[in-house]
């Protein structure tokens, strides 16, 4: 995947995660509102009991009001159950969107590493050419200076790391740069 395609994947995933998260927050807020309505209705039931106990309501009046309030609580409980189910669904959607964003970021990381490999390969070729050029120049200068110039080691001693790399195909150990 190219960097541009991976970047698009990340951008789309970020947007999708934002949308699912907002939907989850909305669903949770709606469920909380219904829970508050249930609590308020239960307080209404308590008030009816208190008013009946204080003889402010007759038995019939209290019975009627209490039955209505209880019916409201039952209906609200059903709405709350459905709302909580929606919250669960929204939470799953958010988790899935977060997982998708992780995948997208992993793809971007891979694409970036591939592009960085290409760029550093070009740099390695430049260094190769520069080193060869320098050794060639060293040979010319050694002759002019009357110094020995027969063979590579007369003009340039490669490091043991470079020698091992060229002669034995050994990859030099990786050093973390600060």
């Amino acid at each position: 995947m190219t960097i541009e395609a991976a970047a698009r994947f990340v951008a789309q995933s970020e947007l999708a995660l934002k949308a699912t998260y907002e939907a989850e927050v909305d669903a949770a807020a709606r469920a909380a509102q219904i829970a508050e309505r249930i609590a308020a209705t239960e307080r209404r039931c308590d008030q009816v009991r208190a008013d009946h106990a204080a003889k402010k309501l007759t038995d019939v009046e209290a019975g009627g009001l209490f039955a209505l309030a209880q019916a409201d609580v039952a209906d609200l409980a059903e709405l709350h159950r459905a709302a909580v189910e929606l919250v669960g669904h929204a939470t799953e959607q958010t988790r899935a969107a977060a997982a998708e964003l992780s995948r997208a970021e992993a793809e971007l990381s891979r694409a970036e590493a591939a592009a960085q490999f290409e760029a550093l390969s070009e740099h390695a070729a430049e260094l190769d050419e520069a080193l060869c050029y320098c050794v060639s120049e060293l040979s010319v200068l050694a002759r002019r200076a009357g110094r020995p110039s027969n063979g590579l080691t007369a003009v340039f001693r490669p490091s043991s790391t470079l020698s091992a790399m060229i002669r034995l195909g050994q990859i030099p150990p990786h050093r973390e740069t600060a």
Partner: protein
């Protein structure tokens, strides 16, 4: 909004049906049904336009964000590659 209009259309159609069955004049009821249907069509169109605008806005936001992310990635790559060695002047005649 569409739910309300659907409810109103149902009620108007029921009144038209009742008038038909009762042999009463139906012109006003038919007009009411037609008006509500026009309102429903208008609402559908408005929602389609809103959805299209929202989708376009999201597509533009995605394109901008993708360009930003790609530019940051390219900058990181460029920053990680050392400068090419400068070639000394050749001493060879």
């Amino acid at each position: 909004m569409l739910d309300q209009l659907a409810g109103r259309l149902q009620a108007a159609q029921n009144r038209l049906r009742s008038a038909l069955l009762a042999g009463q004049p139906t012109a006003a009821h038919r007009q009411a049904v037609a008006t509500i249907q026009t309102d429903i069509d208008g609402e559908f169109q408005r929602q389609r336009q809103t959805d299209a605008e929202r989708d376009q806005h999201r597509a533009e936001a995605t394109t901008r964000r993708a360009a930003e992310i790609a530019a940051e990635a390219h900058q990181r790559i460029a920053a990680s590659i050392p400068k090419a060695p400068t070639k000394p002047r050749s001493t060879q005649a």
